[in-house]
Symmetry: C2
Subunit: 120 residues, 2 copies
DNA sequence: TGCGAACGTTAGTGCACGCTGACGGAGGAC
DNA sequence: GTCCTCCGTCAGCGTGCACTAACGTTCGCA
């Protein structure tokens, strides 16, 4: 494998794919405010505990979740650093798109002023 | 279906699913700066023109793209408003996660101060 | 040491999705 | 009119993924 290539998905790609699933976003919102055990999280949904456990694994691998063990229980919490990465991506996209829009408005106004100049 | 659940495509959900695909993110980056025709976009990738066309449809339905016709050509451009929606979502998540982290640090410091108090 | 609770893991299934190839339609050049 | 370009759409195929049921593991407790 080439040195530059990621093992199994760039970090941003994994985070995006993880957040594409509505249930995983709901889980993330749940543990954004409070640290909860896997069982408590699973109880909040109408799917099997297994499904929730798999979702938690995906979120953890994507760097969006932190895990802490306490006896037989596993406590989960949202990880701000994981969210920061793709927030930067969106900020870049958003900024460039806005720049483009601003340039358009500017060009349009300039064209209109030239037109008014000719009218005089 | 529970009352709180989305029917089959909240705007944010569609945008997230659209951005989950790496190729679609690349397309979006391509038209973030310049307005390009479907053929020009397709030429930038090593997949069929058909695949790119379907990606463009998905992005357009998600509100992330604007379409403009010019003769037989169809020109595409990134739509800042579509990006704004999910940026707000991430901002909420990010803010609450950071709030949580700040509360944790605060609680930890308070506990440490209490501990030092007992040591005296 | 045995037992139950709390989770993760594995095998299997149904469905959504990205890709391709073939086809259809709209618009310009002659 | 005919031809060509540019592009979307449909049918089909393979893969990935969310889910379930059954099993394995770790920990606390009597």
């Amino acid at each position: 494998m080439p040195p530059g290539a990621a093992a199994a998905g760039e970090p941003l790609d994994e985070a995006m794919r993880a957040l594409a699933e509505p249930r995983r976003r709901a889980i993330l919102r749940l543990v954004a405010h409070d640290e909860l055990a896997a069982g408590e999280i699973a109880a909040a949904f109408e799917v099997t505990r297994t499904a929730v456990s798999q979702h938690l694994t995906v979120l953890k691998n994507a760097g969006l979740l932190s895990e802490r063990r306490e006896g037989t229980r596993r406590l989960y919490r949202a990880r701000p650093e994981g969210l920061a990465e793709l927030r930067d991506f969106l900020d870049d996209m958003w900024a460039s798109a806005l720049d483009d829009a601003r340039r358009l408005v500017e060009a349009d106004r300039a064209a209109r002023e030239r037109s008014e100049e000719e009218d005089r």
